[in-house]
C-alpha cells in the first residue's frame, strides 16, 4: 500500500491537492493511518473527493458495497474490469453515494482485500471512504462533500490495514478494531414473524389478525410480529393508514401486544414520495441539487422518491414526533428501510457532509424510540454502527433463487452475503440475513434451496424472521422451523472456500456443536470434512449425524448438492460436574452441570 504516494512508514506525510492539504499520520504499531484535510486557500472551498493512497491488486479480491443490499463477495480482477463497462451508465444512489465513480470503475466501499493485504476504514462518521478498481491499481479515496472555510481542517475517518493469512482472521480483526472505534449496539437475535415475503403489499388488518390467531393456535413462540410495507397511506405518511387498515396502527399494536408479541413496524424514514402529504406540505425538506430542485433519490412504488434533509430542524422535529408517536403506540421494533436516501450528496439546510447528515437523522430516530430495537435496511453500513441494533446485510431474499448479483431480490445472494458479512455479526450489530420461508407452495425454491434458507440464518445466530402465511403451512413445515431454532444460539464463524462455497462452524448452539457446508454453486461439491474439523476443536469421528437427512456420517468425503447445505452434528464433549448437598430433612440433592471440553 502507498499513502499519499509514499510507502507505508511511521510518521507524517503531507500532500497538496488543489486548494487542500492532506495530512496522513501513519502508525505501524496500530496499522492505522489518521487522515486530515485542510482548506489552504483564502476562500471557502467545497471539499469533494480526495485520493489518499493506492494498493496493488491481485487476481482474487474481496469487494464490498456500501449498503445492506449490495454485494460483498470474492471476485477476480478481470471480472471486475469487465463488469465496470456493464455498469457504465448506472448512476443511482442505491448503488453508491458517489455514483459518478461508477461510470468507468467498480467501487468497493469501506474495505477491500487483495490476496496479500486487507484495507478497511475504521468508521464513516465524516466522509464516505471507498476503493476504486483500476487496471493499474486500486485507488483509496474519500468523499467529504461539504464546504470548508479558509484554514478549516477536518479529521477524516481512519484507515486500517492488515496482512494475512488467514484471510478470515483479517476480517475478524478488522471487525473487532471497527467495534473498538465505534460504540456498537448489539441487538438480541430475535425470533419473529414478518409480513413481507408472502403478502408483499397485499397486507390488511384482517389478514394480520388471522395470522395472530394461527400463531396462538400453532403455539409458535415468536417474540416479534413485524408489519411490513403496505399499511401506510403513502411513503412518508407513516402515521396514516390506507383503507386496508381501518382501525389504524395503534389498534394493531395493541392486538399484537395482547398476543404476547412485540409489535414491529416498517418505515422508510428518509424517503418522501412525490405524492405524499409530507412532501406536498414541506417541499423544502428535500435534499436539493445546485439549482435548488429536489433530487430524486430513487424510484419505487411507481413514484419518484425524494430524500429528507435531516439537517433541517423542522424536518428533524417531524422525524422525532413520528417515531415518538409510533413508540408510544407500543411498537418496540422498527425496521427502517431505504436508509441510503439519507446520505445522497446534495444541498442541505446545514453545511455538513452527507455522512454527517445521515447520522443526524439516525440519531434523531434513536432519540425518539429510546431503547427500542432498530433494524437498519438499505442502510450505509459503517455510518449506522451505534444507531441500529440489527442490520440487514444482504439483498432482499425472494421465493426464487435468482442469478443476478446486483442487489435486487435473490435468495442466492441474500445467503451469499449472510456468509461473507458474517464477520460483522455480534460485533457491529446483530446481522439480519432477511426472512426465512418455510412454505413448500407459492415458492420457486426447490427442496435444497428451501432447507438452506431455513437453516443458514439459524446457524449464524442472527435475527430470525419468518415470512409465511402460517395457515398454509403443514406440520412438517412448522417442525422444520422449530428444528432450525435448535441450531441457533451458537458462536458462528465462516470460512471462504471460494466465491460460492463456504464452511461454517457453530459452537455452543442449542443442540450442540455443528459444522455446515454451504454450496451456492450449480455443481456438486465433494468436501473432505476432516479438513474443517479443527475449526470446531472437534474430532472427525465426533461428527455423527447429518442434517437434514438425519443419517449417520459414513465417511469424511461428503457430497454437498448444488444450492444446498449439509449440516454435521457433533457429539458433546461433556465433562459432568456434580455438587452434593444434604438438606435439613436428611434428603440428598445432587446438582449437575457440565463443562464442554
Amino acid at each position: 500500500m502507498k499513502v499519499l504516494g509514499n510507502s507505508v512508514k511511521a510518521g507524517e506525510v503531507k500532500k497538496t491537492i488543489g486548494n487542500f492539504e492532506i495530512t496522513a499520520t501513519i502508525s505501524e504499531e496500530a496499522n492505522k493511518v489518521e487522515l486530515k484535510v485542510k482548506n489552504i486557500s483564502m476562500e471557502p472551498r467545497f471539499a469533494g473527493t480526495f485520493e489518499v493512497g493506492e494498493v496493488i491488486p491481485t487476481e482474487r479480491l474481496l469487494v464490498n458495497n456500501f449498503q445492506s443490499w449490495g454485494p460483498c463477495k470474492l471476485t477476480n480482477k478481470r471480472d471486475i474490469l469487465e463488469h465496470a463497462f456493464g455498469n457504465a451508465l448506472i448512476t443511482e444512489y442505491p448503488i453508491s453515494p458517489v455514483p459518478w465513480e461508477l461510470h468507468n470503475h467498480i467501487v468497493s466501499d469501506y474495505f477491500v482485500s487483495t490476496e496479500r493485504e486487507f484495507l478497511g476504514f475504521l468508521s464513516s462518521s465524516v466522509c464516505h471512504p471507498y476503493f476504486v478498481m483500476q487496471e493499474n491499481g486500486i485507488k483509496i479515496k474519500v468523499y467529504l462533500g461539504k464546504t470548508l472555510k479558509p484554514e478549516e481542517s477536518v479529521k477524516l475517518d481512519p484507515l486500517w490495514w492488515s496482512s494475512f493469512p488467514p484471510f478470515e482472521e483479517a476480517l475478524r480483526d478488522y471487525a473487532e478494531t471497527v467495534a473498538k472505534n465505534n460504540r456498537p449496539r448489539i441487538g438480541e437475535p430475535l425470533f419473529g414473524w414478518a409480513s413481507w415475503y408472502h403478502y408483499y403489499l397485499e397486507i390488511s388488518e384482517s389478514f394480520l389478525e388471522k395470522e395472530i390467531e394461527v400463531i396462538k393456535e400453532k403455539k409458535i413462540q415468536y417474540k416479534l410480529f413485524q408489519v411490513d410495507d403496505g399499511y401506510e397511506k403513502d411513503i412518508g405518511d407513516w402515521l396514516y393508514t390506507n383503507k386496508k387498515f381501518p382501525s389504524g396502527i395503534k389498534s394493531l399494536a395493541e392486538k399484537i401486544r395482547q398476543s404476547n408479541m412485540m409489535p414491529g413496524i416498517w418505515t422508510a424514514p428518509f424517503s418522501m414520495s412525490e405524492t405524499s402529504e409530507v412532501f406536498k406540505n414541506h417541499p423544502n425538506w428535500a435534499v436539493k441539487d445546485e439549482e435548488g430542485n429536489p433530487i430524486v433519490a430513487y424510484k419505487n412504488w411507481g413514484k419518484s422518491i425524494y430524500a429528507l434533509d435531516t439537517t433541517n430542524p423542522d424536518a428533524r422535529r417531524w422525524l422525532n414526533e413520528t417515531f415518538s408517536t409510533l413508540r408510544n403506540y407500543g411498537y418496540g421494533f422498527f425496521k427502517i428501510d431505504f436508509l441510503f436516501a439519507g446520505m445522497i450528496p446534495g444541498k442541505r439546510y446545514l453545511n455538513v457532509t452527507p455522512v454527517e447528515a445521515y447520522r443526524m437523522g439516525m440519531s434523531e430516530i434513536r432519540k425518539a424510540v429510546k431503547d427500542a430495537h432498530i433494524l437498519g435496511c438499505g442502510a450505509p453500513l459503517l455510518p449506522s454502527i451505534g444507531y441500529v441494533d440489527s442490520m440487514r446485510i444482504g439483498a432482499d431474499t425472494a421465493p426464487y433463487w435468482h442469478e443476478k448479483d446486483n442487489g435486487m431480490p435473490s435468495a442466492k445472494y441474500a445467503m451469499r452475503n449472510t456468509l461473507t458479512r458474517n464477520f460483522m455479526n455480534g460485533l457491529w450489530w446483530r446481522n439480519d440475513p432477511d426472512c426465512i420461508m418455510a412454505r413448500l407452495t407459492n415458492t420457486e425454491l426447490n427442496k435444497n434451496e428451501r432447507t438452506l434458507n431455513i437453516f443458514l440464518p439459524a446457524l449464524i445466530n442472527s435475527v430470525y424472521l419468518q415470512s409465511d402465511k402460517l395457515y398454509t403451512l403443514s406440520e412438517h413445515e412448522i417442525c422444520e422451523v422449530k428444528s432450525a431454532l435448535n441450531f441457533r444460539g451458537g458462536n458462528s464463524r465462516v470460512w471462504f472456500v471460494d466465491s460460492e462455497r463456504f464452511a461454517t462452524s457453530s459452537t455452543g448452539a442449542v443442540n450442540g456443536d455443528v459444522l455446515a457446508f454451504v454450496n451456492l454453486s450449480d455443481t456438486e461439491w465433494y468436501v473432505d470434512t476432516s479438513e474443517f474439523t479443527p475449526l470446531l476443536k472437534g474430532n472427525a469421528s465426533g461428527f455423527l449425524v447429518t442434517y437434514p437427512s438425519m443419517t449417520k456420517v459414513k465417511e469424511r468425503r461428503q457430497k454437498v448438492e448444488p444450492h444446498s447445505i449439509l449440516i454435521l452434528m457433533h457429539c458433546s464433549r461433556v465433562k459432568l460436574k456434580r455438587e452434593d448437598e444434604k438438606k435439613k430433612d436428611g434428603r440428598e440433592f445432587h446438582y449437575y452441570g457440565s463443562d464442554e471440553t
Partner: protein, 318 residues
C-alpha cells in the same frame, strides 16, 4: 406405613407406602415445586437429582414389625427413590429439550447408576418417566425418577430368564438380535442411527408402544461410548417429538429404561428402553383392564407395522 411385603401367590414383592397418598398435586395457581425458587429448590440448576419427599423406599427405612410367618412375610423398605430433573425450564419436555440437554441427562443417568450400585443391597436400578396425568404424573415440570430396588422386580426377572435362556441356546445376545431382526423386516422401524434403532416391536402390547434398542450388547449406561450417548439422545428426541406431533399434544407415556441388574449383573441381559403410551387414539385410552392386570396378557387393538408406518410419517423436531 412403609414396608415391603411378599406376595407368595406370584412370588413378587409389593412396596407398601401409605404416606404417598399426600403427595403434592400441582395447582393451577401455585408455583411449581420443581422450578428454581419452588418448594424443592432454593437455587437455580441445570439438571438435578434428589431424594423423593414421598419415597416408597429409603436407604434408612423405618423399622418394621417382622412377621416370620410362612406366608405373610415383610421387610424394611430399603432402597432409594430419586427424582431426576431434566431441566429447570418448566415448559420443556424430552420432546422439546435440545439434543445437548438430553445428552447431559444420559450422563446423569450414568452417574446415578454408578452411585446407586455402590450400595451392595441394591439389586436393580430402574430409571423411568411418567408423563401426563393419564399415567398418574402429578407434576408437569419435565422430570423422571429412579427406583433402586433391593430385589429384582418380577417382570425384570422374567426378562433375565428369557435372555439367559436365549443366550444359552444361541450363543448370542437377545436385544441386539431383535434389533437386527426388526431392521431386516424394516416395516416396524421408526428411526435408525448407527448405534440405536427405534421400533414398534413385533410383539407390542400397547398400540403406540416403542422400543429403543442398541445395536450391540450393552448392560448399563456406564458402558456407553460418547458416540452411543449422542445417538441415544437423538433417538430419544425423535421418538418423543414424533409422539407429540401424532395428535398435536403433549403425548402421555410411561418410559421404562431397562438396565442389567447390579450386585451381581446378568451378562445376558441387554440394555433397552420401552415406551408405553396409554392412548390408543387421540381421545381414547388403552386401559390396563382385567385381562392385562390380572393375567399380564395384553390385547393390542392395532397392528404394530401400521402404527410404525404412521409414526415414520409424523414429523419431528430435532
Amino acid at each position: 406405613m412403609m414396608e415391603i411385603r411378599y406376595n407368595p401367590i406370584v412370588d413378587e414383592w409389593v412396596l407398601v407406602s401409605s404416606d404417598r397418598q399426600v403427595r403434592p398435586l400441582q395447582s393451577k395457581v401455585s408455583k411449581c415445586p420443581l422450578c428454581p425458587g419452588g418448594v424443592e429448590f432454593d437455587r437455580d440448576y441445570d439438571l438435578a437429582v434428589f431424594d423423593n419427599l414421598f419415597p416408597a423406599m429409603k436407604t434408612k427405612p423405618p423399622k418394621v414389625n417382622p412377621r416370620n410367618e410362612k406366608l405373610l412375610k415383610n421387610r424394611p423398605s430399603f432402597g432409594k427413590c430419586e427424582v431426576v430433573m431434566y431441566t429447570s425450564k418448566h415448559d420443556s419436555s424430552m420432546s422439546r429439550m435440545p439434543i445437548r440437554q438430553i445428552e447431559k441427562l444420559i450422563y446423569v443417568w450414568e452417574d446415578r447408576t454408578k452411585e446407586l450400585a455402590k450400595h451392595e443391597d441394591i439389586k436393580y436400578i430402574f430409571p423411568f418417566e411418567n408423563r401426563g396425568k393419564e399415567v398418574g404424573a402429578t407434576l408437569s415440570h419435565p422430570h423422571g425418577q429412579i427406583y433402586a430396588f433391593p430385589f429384582i422386580p418380577k417382570r425384570v426377572k422374567a426378562m433375565i430368564e428369557s435372555q439367559e435362556r436365549y443366550y444359552k441356546e444361541n450363543n448370542s445376545y437377545l436385544i441386539p438380535d431383535i434389533a437386527r431382526a426388526e431392521l431386516m423386516a424394516e416395516e416396524r422401524v421408526i428411526f435408525e442411527l448407527e448405534r440405536f434403532v427405534a421400533v414398534v416391536p413385533y410383539f407390542a402390547r400397547f398400540p403406540y408402544e416403542v422400543h429403543i434398542y442398541p445395536k450391540r450388547q450393552l448392560h448399563h449406561f456406564t458402558e456407553m461410548s460418547t458416540e452411543e450417548k449422542f445417538d441415544l439422545a437423538v433417538v430419544l428426541k425423535v421418538v418423543t417429538s414424533k409422539y407429540d406431533n401424532l395428535f398435536n399434544e403433549d403425548f402421555p407415556y410411561m418410559m421404562a429404561i431397562f438396565q442389567s441388574p447390579v450386585n451381581p449383573t446378568s451378562e445376558a441381559f441387554g440394555f433397552h428402553i420401552e415406551f408405553y403410551p396409554p392412548k390408543r387414539d387421540k381421545d381414547k385410552i388403552k386401559w390396563m383392564a382385567s385381562v392385562e392386570t390380572g393375567t399380564w396378557t395384553f390385547i393390542n387393538p392395532s397392528t404394530p407395522s401400521d402404527i410404525a408406518k404412521r409414526l415414520r410419517e409424523v414429523p419431528f423436531v430435532i
